[in-house]
């Protein structure tokens, strides 16, 4: 997925029934700052009860970014890393208020995008999380997805 397409997707998500968007970091970043976090979720247009969500983790120094998108209707997971850094991706699945299953993937810098239909039972809450390999960069999470 290209930068433009990805940004368009994020913009659409951000404009429709967004439940939460958090941005951390400063406008005038210095090297070593935490990466900023952009995330949101919205009701799926095609999957009753499902909710789409995304997280985007951005290096404030150079704008490089990595992120993960969840689409409820096809249970599609997109992972992408347009930064030069190694990044971890997590998907936590809930039963009620408890995490029952945690998936973990890793991507090297500028690794090819990965898109898969993620086969899970319906109605499970999904928490997406993207973290830089350096914990000091913070992390980026969204808890709003539902399969």
């Amino acid at each position: 997925m290209s930068h433009l397409a990805r940004r368009a997707l994020i913009t659409v998500a951000a404009m429709s029934a967004v439940t939460a968007t958090t941005v951390t970091g400063t406008a005038q970043a210095v090297d070593g700052d935490q990466w900023t976090c952009h995330h949101a979720s919205s009701a799926s247009p095609n999957d009753k009860g499902g909710r789409d969500s995304y997280v985007t983790h951005v290096n404030p120094d150079n704008g490089q970014r990595a992120g993960m998108n969840f689409t409820a209707s096809s249970e599609k997971v997109l992972q992408w890393n347009d930064s030069k850094d190694n990044v971890d991706f997590y998907a936590n699945f809930y039963s009620g208020n408890r995490i029952v299953l945690t998936w973990h993937w890793n991507m090297d810098g500028h690794e090819k995008d990965l898109t898969h239909d993620f086969d899970r039972p319906e109605g499970q809450k999904v928490q997406l999380e993207v973290t830089h390999w350096q914990p000091s960069k913070g992390g980026c999470m969204d808890k709003g997805g539902v399969t």
Partner: protein
């Protein structure tokens, strides 16, 4: 399994050469055929990755191996002479017919294996990791419509897959059906890896 028949016209630019190019040379080039295709297309699901069943304790982490399962390589074949359609023309026509993004010739499903770790936080599991996809297998006849093209007829076969169909998941043979994935690849994996007397197998519809 769906079977359809259709004709597709592919516009092709003329390409002349003093010698007969090899198939590899011309795989990506347009032929001088301007082919019209008749298709017989079949789609079916298959597993491409299937790990052995692994017992994981509560709080334990499963290291997914993502072992390729009966790897498949995308391929296009064609009969005919130097004016036969190229692989690119054939695949383009098949894409136009199916609407699916198709894997390019020479691509192997073994390259799609995806590793991950999964932590079971609340209970033990007998886990089976799988990946599957929807294959597209097609036989075709073509005829050239360009003036002076020849031989003007031939046949061929395509084996490929819908790149957007790649599905992955995790079965827990200890869990009932309603708590497990329900896709076709999940069903295939369940039948091959979960014991017949496991809760997952016993609760199959």
């Amino acid at each position: 399994m769906a079977v359809t028949t259709a004709s597709v016209v592919v516009a092709a630019t003329a390409c002349s050469s003093g010698s007969s190019p090899t198939r590899a040379d011309r795989a990506e080039r347009a032929s001088s055929c301007a082919p019209v295709f008749d298709w017989d297309i079949a789609r079916s699901w298959r597993l491409i990755t299937l790990d052995d069943l692994v017992k994981v304790g509560r709080g334990g982490t499963l290291k997914i191996k993502a072992k390729p399962y009966e790897p498949l390589t995308s391929a296009v074949s064609v009969t005919g002479g130097r004016n036969a359609p190229t692989d690119s023309e054939v695949l383009k026509a098949l894409h136009a017919r199916t609407g699916a993004p198709l894997a390019a010739p020479g691509t192997s499903t073994s390259g799609l294996a995806r590793r991950a770790d999964v932590t079971f936080r609340e209970k033990a599991a007998e886990a089976v990791y799988f990946q599957g996809l929807r294959t597209v297998t097609a036989t075709y006849r073509y005829r050239c419509t360009a003036k002076g093209a020849g031989p003007d007829r031939g046949t061929g076969r395509v084996t490929t897959w819908d790149q957007e169909s790649v599905t992955f998941g995790l079965l827990d043979c200890l869990a009932p059906r309603r708590e497990n994935p329900d896709s076709v690849p999940a069903e295939l994996a369940l039948g091959k890896r979960c014991p017949r007397d496991s809760p997952a197998a016993l609760s199959r519809p």
